[in-house]
């Protein structure tokens, strides 16, 4: 065939560069997973809230307006738990810290693990909702027939945009198939110092 040395070198160079680009794009695809998370958390888009505790910011409370904060709890298939909230909605000032109790009941006779996954609407409110203490940060374990009440402590940022006057916080309870050791390890990773 008529392929000379210079061409062969050129071809090799092209191939090496192409393969490098390929591998880069493959890595990029996987990098997009945490990047997407980071992007969502930083911008509050997609209603994904922080899964770690945030400190209370000592700021003035905006007494001029109230914001309605609604709570909705949902169960899911495969977990025989009941999740309920003490109050369906509350009126809170921006800048104010508030607390509301959530109750988890295991209706079956055997112990199981669950995780409450939060979602906020409108998504533009997410960065302004600081969770100080939330059961959603960790998996929860309930013995058979056990009932547990855990508070959610949150603070609405003072700079919550004027247009937002209703925030809805939904928790969906999902089963977790884990051994106790795995749960403890996961909770440890999530910052629970036990």
């Amino acid at each position: 065939m008529g392929i000379d040395r210079a061409q062969r070198d050129g071809v090799n160079k092209t191939v090496i560069r192409s393969v490098a680009a390929l591998l880069g794009m493959f890595a990029f695809a996987f990098a997009l997973v945490p990047l997407y998370d980071v992007f969502c958390k930083v911008t509050g888009l997609n209603g994904k809230v922080d899964t770690t505790a945030q400190a209370i910011v000592h700021e003035e409370v905006d007494q001029t307006r109230f914001v309605t904060v609604q709570f909705i709890t949902r169960g899911s298939a495969g977990l025989p738990w009941q999740m309920s909230v003490a109050t369906r909605q509350m009126r809170v000032h921006p800048g104010q810290t508030a607390e509301v109790d959530f109750t988890f009941t295991n209706n079956s006779a055997i112990e199981s693990w669950g995780r409450a996954v939060p979602s906020v609407s409108p998504s533009s409110a997410t960065t302004h909702l600081r969770k100080v203490s939330c059961f959603c940060f960790q998996e929860q374990q309930l013995q058979g027939e056990e009932r547990l009440t855990i508070p959610l402590v949150f603070q609405l940022a003072k700079d919550l945009p004027e247009e937002i006057n209703t925030i809805t916080l939904v928790y969906t309870l999902y089963p977790v198939q884990r051994t106790p050791l795995q749960t403890a390890y996961n909770n440890h990773l999530a910052g629970d110092n036990t």
């Binding site: 065939m1 393969v19 390929l22 591998l23 493959f26 997009l32 997407y36 997609n46 998504s123 533009s124």
Partner: protein, 549 residues
């Protein structure tokens, strides 16, 4: 054996054997094996090109039959022929086969045949890799098609396979679906590397980048798109595999994941993918129209820039497939603007083709018929695409038959017609005979009627409120569906004419000279028809007179 001609003469010195015959040059290689083994082991770009094209045509009929099952069920309201479970498999497999096994391999086949000929290269840069790239495809699609026979059935979640329908709620065969897609993806990637290496390094001396035919340019840009996004598809399906089999939660809210992440990743691949399926078509049409208008392509440089612009912009529009998912307003607006913007370079290309025709000297051979139909019907598909770009309006169009109409217009009378145009155009070069003109014209007119009867009513069905991917529908959609189903069967049957034309042409027909078409200018027309198995073993000197600038 023909004598060696002086090196500056672009006519070939090698044997005049037909492409597919044995060559007897004085090089030291052994005679190639005969029969099946010869096709299994060939590293010749012409033979591999033919393999891709035959494979693609076969899969076109397979995918077409799946579509006919769908259209047969949708002929009338009610569930008469298949269960919804199987219907979902048919719609899914129709999409997967057409995208990955028909359209993409067809363009790859044309690339294999024509790129070396158009740049004056003796073969592709990596001939053995070329062989491997092809043979991956029958393996991949045998595996994919076999999932239909597995317990639980084949993939039934749409060709876009959104999670969690395709992960948590998917049939057991999904892991094999993922494997098949990985294999096909590797094939595309290797093909793309080969094409880039060939185009960048093996052009005839004197041929600058801006001298290359537009088919070569569009394939170069397509190959870059493939390298950029096929790995992202590989990443997504690997994540799916992990979610299904290894307990991860990329796309599962229960484990902290997000189903919408799947869509972002999929469409980041998916949108450039649809440009991968159309850019080579632009290249083919840009060769055919100047030939049969006997006039140089209008605005060669802007065609190149427009193609590059489309390719770049294609990375910035993906979420227009997700307008109703609950994206934040800022994102929604950004993607609306970028999607509207991509209409501009696409429009420029259409204007350039029309201006090429203006004050030309136009004849209507079969390749030209298909190329002209492409310009009109692809543009109509482009119009519905522009309507879809208007995000608020998209809330009413999304996931309806309006979208189905749009993408079938750009893919069937778009990409597929361009492929057929290319086949009719280059058949004389491949076989040494002109395709039978009467039969080809019959194929053309039947296809035009069929394609419009099938897909035009879908615009109205969608506007009237018919969702996608449903096996049965409310009564107000009945008339539109009746027409579409009739059109589909008519169109499907017409494609048998295409096969007939090709088979007859391979076997015989009016003899074609090297320059089979009066207005044809590119390098492939300087070699004999049919092209010998080995061409441009000595690189031709590229004549500037053929320049496009």
């Amino acid at each position: 054996m023909a004598p060696k001609l002086p090196p500056h003469n672009p006519l070939q010195h090698s044997s005049t054997a037909v492409a597919g015959g044995q060559s007897h040059e004085g090089h030291a290689h052994h005679t190639p094996p005969k029969g099946l083994l010869r096709w299994l082991l060939t590293t010749n770009h012409k033979e591999i090109g033919s393999l891709y094209l035959i494979f693609s045509l076969t899969m076109f009929f397979v995918g077409g039959i799946f579509a006919l099952v769908v259209r047969a069920e949708l002929f009338q309201p009610g569930l008469q022929l298949v269960e919804p479970e199987f219907f979902n498999q048919m719609t899914t497999m129709h999409g997967l086969i057409m995208v990955f096994a028909a359209v993409m391999p067809a363009f790859t086949g044309l690339a294999n045949w024509m790129i070396p000929l158009q740049i004056g290269a003796p073969d592709m840069a990596l001939p053995r890799l070329n062989n491997f790239s092809f043979w991956l495809l029958p393996v991949a699609f045998a595996l994919l098609l076999s999932t239909l026979l597995m317990p639980g059935g084949g993939p039934n979640f749409g060709w876009t396979f959104y999670a969690p329908l395709s992960t948590t709620y998917a049939p057991a065969s999904t892991t094999f679906f993922i494997l098949a897609l990985h294999i096909a993806g590797i094939s595309s990637i290797l093909g793309a590397i080969n094409i880039i290496a060939t185009i960048l390094n093996m052009r005839a001396p004197g041929m600058r980048m801006m001298d290359m035919p537009l088919f070569v340019w569009t394939w170069l840009i397509t190959a870059f798109l493939l390298i950029a996004v096929m790995p992202v598809l590989a990443g997504v399906i690997t994540m799916m595999l992990m979610d299904i089999n290894f307990g991860t939660s990329f796309f599962d809210a229960a484990g902290g994941g997000d189903p919408v992440l799947f869509q972002h990743l999929f469409w980041f691949f998916g949108h450039p993918e649809v440009y991968i399926m159309i850019l080579p078509a632009f290249g083919i049409v840009s060769a055919i129209i100047p030939t049969f208008a006997r006039k140089p392509l209008f605005g060669y440089a802007s065609m190149v820039y427009a193609t590059a612009a489309i390719a770049l912009l294609s990375f910035l529009v993906w979420a227009h497939h997700m307008f109703i998912v609950g994206l934040p307003l800022t994102a929604e607006l950004f993607f609306m603007y970028s999607t509207m913007l991509i209409a501009v370079p696409t429009g420029v290309k259409v204007f350039n083709w029309v201006t090429t025709l203006f004050r030309g000297s136009i004849s209507f051979e079969p390749p030209m018929l298909f190329a002209l139909a492409f310009v009109v019907l692809f543009t109509i598909g482009g119009f519905s695409g522009l309507m879809l770009a208007i995000a608020p309006a998209d809330f009413q169009y999304h996931d309806t038959y309006f979208v189905v109409a749009h993408f079938h217009y750009v893919l069937v009378p778009g990409a597929i017609f361009a492929i057929m145009a290319g086949v009719y155009y280059w058949l004389p070069k491949w076989t040494g005979h002109y395709p039978n003109e009467r039969l080809a014209q019959c194929h053309f007119w039947c296809s035009i009627i069929g394609v419009n009867l099938t897909f035009f009513p879908m615009h109205f069905a969608g506007l009237a409120g018919m969702p996608r991917r449903i096996p049965d529908y409310a009564l107000q959609f009945a008339d539109f569906n009746l027409l579409s189903s009739i059109g589909a069967f008519f169109f499907g049957a017409s494609q048998l004419l295409f096969v007939l034309v090709i088979v007859l042409c391979v076997r015989g027909g009016q003899k074609a000279p090297a320059k089979a078409w009066e207005g044809a200018v590119d390098l492939e027309w300087s070699v004999p028809s049919p092209a010998p198995l080995h061409t441009f073993e000595t690189p031709p000197v590229f004549h500037r007179a053929q320049t496009h600038e």
